[in-house]
């Protein structure tokens, strides 16, 4: 008889699932609105999370391979530039230094502007486009700022630019802090919004099915039996929003990834692909968020309005 009981329970579960889908179909507009809200909530929160992960990774890469390029003024001759290069290379903070001659720099530039090669060759007759550089890899990221400041103090009149990636990193770290704050704030506000909308959707379904629920109570339906279809509806709504948001996040990320790739070589960084950016963790988070939000909102709406 136990087997028969199990079959009956399975039939009831199947019937309840069917009722949940019917609920959703009857209330399609509000369900759709709820899915859209969950979708936007997760897309916004997910974007902040991804921004945090990517920023953190770039900072990590820069700290791991602290490289900077010192460009001399065009009027500094190769011999003087070489002397500075040797001094720099001998510094204890420096792990490796590479000298780039005026001609090498110029050739690199011409390669970059291949289509306008002639124009730049003609423009160079003044010699102002030719300058020597030293590419420096430091032992320690922490020494970076002091090293750049020291170079500028010693030979500031000869150096055209020493892109201060270290101050950029500091700015990125500040940005990362604010990204984290925004992530938390967005998550809180958006979660409240999702809960409210799913709550209202389920409430509307309950009101629409008020008569049916009343009859169910009189013919002996248990509280669980009455509430479950509404809860399943809420959970399915949350999950649908989560799945759509994940797909959209992947699309947005890939767009940003292509953008990052276009200047990653110059910045000496390798951007993370979507798969490597913790996307599987985000998917799990999305699905959990969708399911939990749907569950909590619908159970409260159902319990409050069904008064079982």
């Amino acid at each position: 008889m136990k087997g028969g009981g199990a079959v009956k329970k399975l039939r009831v579960i199947f019937y309840v699932l069917l009722q949940s889908l019917k609920n959703a179909a009857r209330n399609l507009f509000m369900v759709f609105a709820s899915i859209i809200v969950v979708f936007f909530v997760l897309l916004v929160v997910g974007s902040f999370i991804e921004a945090g992960i990517v920023t953190s990774d770039i900072i990590g890469q820069v700290k791991e391979r602290p490289v900077l390029k010192i460009n001399f003024h065009y009027y500094v001759d190769e011999e003087t530039a070489q002397q500075y290069y040797e001094a720099i290379a001998a510094s204890p903070e420096v792990k490796q230094a590479t000298y780039i001659s005026k001609q090498e720099n110029f050739e690199n530039m011409l390669k970059e502007f291949e289509d306008n090669r002639e124009y730049f060759e003609n423009l160079d007759k003044s010699g102002k486009l030719k300058y020597a550089s030293v590419e420096v890899q430091l032992n320690n990221y922490a020494d970076g700022r002091a090293f750049v400041d020291g170079i500028m103090e010693d030979a500031g009149d000869m150096i055209d630019s020493a892109p201060n990636i270290f101050s950029v990193v500091e700015k990125m770290e500040k940005a990362q802090f604010w990204i984290n704050i925004c992530t938390i704030a967005a998550a809180l506000v958006m979660t409240a919004l999702s809960l409210l909308l799913i709550f209202n959707t389920v409430k509307l379904t309950v009101v629409a099915r008020h008569r049916e629920i009343e009859i169910m109570k009189f013919i002996g339906a248990t509280n669980t039996y009455i509430i479950t279809p509404f809860v399943i509806e809420g959970v399915l709504t949350g999950l649908a929003g989560a799945a759509l948001a994940f797909l959209a996040l992947g699309g947005v990320y890939n767009g940003v990834y292509k953008l990052l790739l276009s200047f990653s070589e110059d910045a000496n960084i390798v951007p993370l692909t979507f798969a490597a950016s913790g996307s599987s963790g985000i998917l799990v988070f999305y699905l959990l968020f969708g399911a939990c939000t749907g569950f909590i909102a619908s159970i409260f709406a159902a319990r409050k309005h069904i008064k079982v």
Binding site: K8, E212, I215, M216, I219, G220, Y225
Partner: protein, 235 residues
């Protein structure tokens, strides 16, 4: 009744109903029933009569466990309703069929689905559901209209759907709260005949009504209430 659960065999023979010194007072101070005692024998057909506000609805609410008595004791068969916990109420209600004045059938469902609805939650197979629903529709004479939607039915037919739904699970007790209140005399008589037929099959039937013509035509026992006090209907 404490441990009365889903898989127990439903009572098919009509149960005895006993009210012993039952009083129901609402929080606003209204005393709907005042020390009411009566007994309905197993398989009996009894009318519950009284004008509006006499306590008929409160008595039915007590029988359906929508409300609990302030004092006194109610038993339905072997079940002492006072000992039924909240979690046991749905299982108790599966032993009781109820019919309302306003039919309470679901507009979006067909006649068949409305009746089958009560069996779906019990997890019965398609075959069992079909067999029981068709038997119930046959009993009320609506088998031909099983695929119709309620809005295609007359008031009398809608009430017959409600009766079929109430008896599809073969309850031992059928309670009808003003079942003819929204019907003309012809349909009312038809409904009463169906209720009598169900009673003859063994169920205890209690019909709350204020229509004396109907009661006179049937000639069954009357329990009359007036402002919560029982006037007629001694055993």
């Amino acid at each position: 009744m404490d441990d009365f659960k889903e898989n127990e065999t439903p009572v098919q023979a009509g149960p005895e109903i006993v009210f012993e010194k039952v009083t129901k007072e609402y929080p606003n101070g209204v005393r709907a029933l005042d020390n009411v005692s009566f007994r309905v024998a197993p398989g009996e057909f009894a009318f519950l009569m009284g004008h509006s506000g006499s306590g008929k609805s409160s008595l039915i609410k007590l029988l359906m466990l929508e409300e609990r008595p302030t004092s006194g004791r109610i038993t339905v068969g072997d079940i002492d309703l006072g000992s039924v916990r909240s979690s046991g109420v749905p299982y108790y209600r599966r032993l009781v069929g109820i019919v309302f004045q306003d039919f309470r059938i679901i507009e979006s469902m067909t006649v068949f689905e409305n009746v089958a609805f009560a069996l779906e939650m019990l997890g019965q197979s398609r075959k069992e559901i079909e067999k029981q629903v068709l038997a119930a529709l046959d009993l009320v004479g609506l088998i031909e209209k099983r695929n119709e939607k309620p809005d295609c039915l007359s008031g009398g037919e809608q009430q017959r759907v409600a009766i079929a739904r109430a008896v599809v699970n073969l309850p031992g007790l059928l309670i009808a709260d003003e079942p003819t209140g929204n019907l003309d005399m012809e349909n009312s008589v038809e409904i009463m005949k169906i209720l009598q037929k169900i009673n003859k099959m063994g169920a205890t039937v209690i019909v709350a009504t204020h229509e004396r013509e109907i009661v006179a035509g049937i000639g069954q026992r009357i329990i009359e209430l007036n402002h919560g006090v029982r006037l007629l209907g001694d055993e």
